[in-house]
Symmetry: C2
Subunit: 408 residues, 2 copies
C-alpha cells in the first residue's frame, strides 16, 4: 500500500521544467550556501534559472488511508462543510462520492478535473490533498442509522463553548490542503461544482501554517499567541500511531474521525499578559516550547517539581498539565491551522485556531481531554470555542473504487 506521506513528481505540467529540489540538494548545502549571498543580491527578474519547484510535488491519492491525515501539514487549508439537499438519497450520495473521488484523484496529481473549466490552473499540485468526511446525516442516508459510530454527532456541551451555527455541524466535509493558496482555491471550486447538485455549503474555514520552505522540516507550529503548539503530538512513525488514529472495524476500518473546532483567540486580551504570565498559563517557555522544568522543547515535563517556596513549577492550571492524561490511550493526533480573517466591527483582529484532531474514537480519546480543559485551563481566559463539528473520515480507496465505497 502506498504511503500517503510519500511525495512524488507531478504527472501534469508537461511544459514545465522538472528541476525538483527539496531534500535532494542537502548534500550540496555548503556549495549552495557559499553562492547564496551573491545570487540573492541580484534582482529576481534577472534570474534565468529555475527556482525549486515545490509546486510539482504530489501526495498519492489512493491507499489504505485517505491522504491528508499523516502527510506533513501543508501551508494552506480550506475546510468546507456541506448540508445534503433533502433529495440527496443513497444513490445520489454514491454518484456524488464517485465524481468527488475522481476529481480529487486527478487534481491531487496535478491533472485537470474531468470537467475542469480552467485546466491550466490544475498544473501546480503543491502537495494537494483532498480528504472527505461524513456527518451523521450522510451516514444515515447512505446506510441507515445503525451504521453511525456512537461518537458521530455533536460533542457533549462544554461550559466554555460559545458555539455559532455558522461554524458548526455539517453532513459532508471537504478538507482541501496544499502549499499553494491558488491550488487550494482552484481545487475547492472544482469540488464544489461536483457537489452543487447534491449539497449546499454550510461553512467554509480557511487556515494557514508556515509556507513550504519557510522553516526546517519538523518544526512544531506556533499559534498566533506565539506558543509552540503541538509538541506532544503523536508522530505517524510512532509504534502506537495506528492504534490511536485508525479505526479497526466495519466500514470505517482504515478510516478515522476528525474533530474540527474553531477557537477564537483574543489577541488583545493576551497582549495585556506579560511574558511570565503567558508561560505560566501554558506551562512552557515561549522561546522554544520547553516545559518550565526543562530546557528543550521535547523534554518531558516534571509535574512533581516545586519552587523554593513549594509551589509547582508547572502550575496546576496550566494547559500542559491539564491536557495531559495518565491514560496513554487518551491521546489525539492534532493537525490544526491558524486563522486570521478580516476583523469586523472596529476590531483589529479576528484570529484563532482551526483545531483539527484525528482519533480512532472521539468519545474515548477527545472528550476526556476536552472535559479536563473545560473544567480548568488558564488558556480558557483568552480562548473561546465558537465552532464545532465531528466527521467520520472513511478509509482510502483503491483505483477504480471511491471514497465511501465501504459504506455504500
Amino acid at each position: 500500500m502506498t504511503d500517503p506521506q510519500a511525495e512524488q513528481p507531478a504527472a501534469g505540467g508537461l511544459t514545465r521544467r522538472r528541476l525538483l529540489f527539496g531534500g535532494a540538494v542537502a548534500g550540496l548545502g555548503a556549495a549552495a550556501a557559499i553562492g547564496a549571498d551573491a545570487v540573492l543580491a541580484r534582482p529576481r527578474a534577472d534570474d534565468a534559472v529555475a527556482e525549486p519547484l515545490n509546486g510539482s510535488l504530489t501526495v498519492p491519492f489512493y491507499g489504505a488511508h485517505q491522504a491528508g491525515v499523516t502527510v506533513a501539514p501543508q501551508a494552506h487549508t480550506t475546510l468546507i462543510a456541506l448540508d445534503l439537499h433533502p433529495d440527496t438519497d443513497r444513490d445520489a450520495i454514491r454518484r456524488m462520492l464517485r465524481v468527488l473521488t475522481d476529481d480529487a484523484a486527478r487534481l491531487t496529481q496535478g491533472v485537470a478535473a474531468l470537467a475542469d473549466s480552467e485546466p491550466e490552473l490544475a498544473v501546480v499540485p503543491a502537495r494537494l490533498t483532498v480528504t472527505v468526511g461524513f456527518g451523521a446525516e450522510l451516514v444515515s442516508r447512505a446506510a441507515g442509522t445503525e451504521a453511525r459510530p456512537a461518537w458521530l454527532g455533536a460533542l457533549p456541551a462544554f461550559g466554555i463553548d460559545r458555539l455559532e451555527d455558522a461554524w458548526s455541524g455539517g453532513d459532508l466535509l471537504l478538507q482541501v490542503a496544499a502549499d499553494d493558496a491558488f491550488t487550494v482555491a482552484h481545487a475547492v471550486r472544482m469540488l464544489l461544482k461536483d457537489t452543487r447538485s447534491f449539497a449546499a455549503v454550510r461553512w467554509t474555514q480557511t487556515g494557514f501554517r508556515r509556507a513550504y520552505g519557510s522553516e526546517n522540516n519538523g518544526t512544531t507550529m506556533r499559534n498566533l499567541f506565539g506558543q509552540v503548539d503541538g509538541t506532544v503530538n503523536p508522530a505517524p512513525s510512532d509504534d502506537d500511531f495506528g492504534d490511536l488514529v485508525w479505526c479497526r472495524e466495519g466500514w470505517l476500518a482504515g478510516g478515522t474521525s476528525v474533530v474540527v473546532r474553531r477557537i477564537h483567540m483574543d489577541l488583545d486580551k493576551w497582549d495585556r499578559l506579560d511574558r511570565g504570565g503567558r508561560e505560566q498559563s501554558v506551562g512552557r517557555y515561549l522561546s522554544n516550547g520547553a516545559p518550565l522544568t526543562g530546557t528543550a522543547e521535547h523534554d518531558e515535563p516534571d509535574f512533581e517539581a516545586t519552587t523554593a517556596i513549594g509551589f509547582p513549577v508547572i502550575p496546576e492550571f496550566s494547559h500542559v498539565r491539564r491536557s495531559r492524561s495518565e491514560n496513554t490511550a487518551e491521546r489525539i493526533y492534532r493537525r490544526g491551522y491558524n486563522y486570521d480573517d478580516a476583523p469586523t466591527g472596529g476590531g483589529i483582529s479576528n484570529s484563532g485556531l482551526l483545531f483539527v484532531s484525528h482519533q480512532a474514537d472521539v468519545t474515548r480519546q477527545f472528550v476526556p481531554i476536552q472535559k479536563r480543559l473545560d473544567e480548568l485551563d488558564l488558556l480558557n481566559e483568552w480562548t473561546v470555542p465558537i465552532g464545532s463539528a465531528v466527521f467520520a473520515l472513511p478509509p482510502g480507496c483503491a483505483e477504480g473504487g471511491y471514497i465511501g465505497d465501504t459504506l455504500l
Copy 2:
C-alpha cells in the same frame, strides 16, 4: 541607493540554519534532478536535512523608493485602509509614521517589532515588504490641501462600477506582502497596534498568487478565470519604467501612486462560456496567453489581421485591444492579486481580482485606459468593480528618516 528588488539573508533567526538556495543551486540542477525522485519518495518526517529556507529571504526596507513596488510579487498580500481618527493632527501623523516606519524596517528584516508581543513570530521575513500609502485626507492634514496631487481622490465614476463603501476609500494604506501567510498575519497585527491610537481599520483585503517555488521565476500570473494576466506589464528593468512609475517632483519625488480596485469575477457565469468565447473575450489563447494572432505569450498582437471572411482575428471588443493605447505614456504597472473569500448566501464562490496598479500620474495613465474599458470590453460581462481607492505612495526613506518625511 539600494535596489528594493535585491534579496538578502535575514538579520534575525540566529538559531536557524542558513542554507539559502534559490537561484544559487542552478548550476547543480542536473545532479539535484537525478536525486530528486529517490528523495521525494521518502516521507518528509524522515528528512533530517534542511529544506531551502525561502523564509529567510529579505527585501531591503530603506531606499529611494518604498519596497513592495518593484520586488517580484510575493505569494500573499494584505491591503488595509484606515481612517484617521478626528483628532489625529499633523504631529500625530508624524508620530504614527515614525513608529510605523521603525516597525516596518524591523519586521521586514526578520527582527521583532519594537514592542513585539510575540517576537518569536517575527523570525521568518519571507521577503516581507510593508508599503505605506496616503489618502487625500492624510495629505491635507499633514501639509494642507495644496500638497495633494490633482489625481489623489476618488476616480471618475465609471459606468461599470458598483462600488461598495466597504471596499472603497481610506486615509492611510498599509500594503503588507510576503511569501508566508503567517508572516503577513504577524506583521499586520504589529502594524495595526501601532496605528490603533491614530486610525481605525476601514477595510482589509487579502490576496494570493502562486506560492514561492511553485512556478519558475517570471511566470506571468493567471487569474481565477484561468487567463494569463499581465503579459504586457512594464518590467522594472525597462528603460522607461522610471518615467511610467515614479513621480518626479515635490514631496512625492521617488514615490508613486497606487490604484486599488476590487474586481468581482463571476465564475459561475464564466463557466457558461466555452473556450473559444473565453479566448475571444480576451484576445489571447488560454493555453499560454499568446495573442490570437501569435503563438507565444510575448508575441506582439497583430490588430490588423483579419479572418478569411474579413473579421478581425482579435475582436474589437476584446480586452487586449481595448486596454491598449496608441500613446505609450498611457501605461500602468500592475501588481495585482487574486482573492477567494468564503462565499455567502448560498453561492459557491466569492472571488475576483485585487487590481493594484502603480503609475506616476493616475489621471494621465490609469484613467484613459479605464475609460476605454468602461466604454467597451467584453470582459465587463463577467467582472464588476466593487471597490476603488487611490493612494499616494511617498518615496522611500533613509535610515533615521521615516516614510512621509518629505511631506511633513
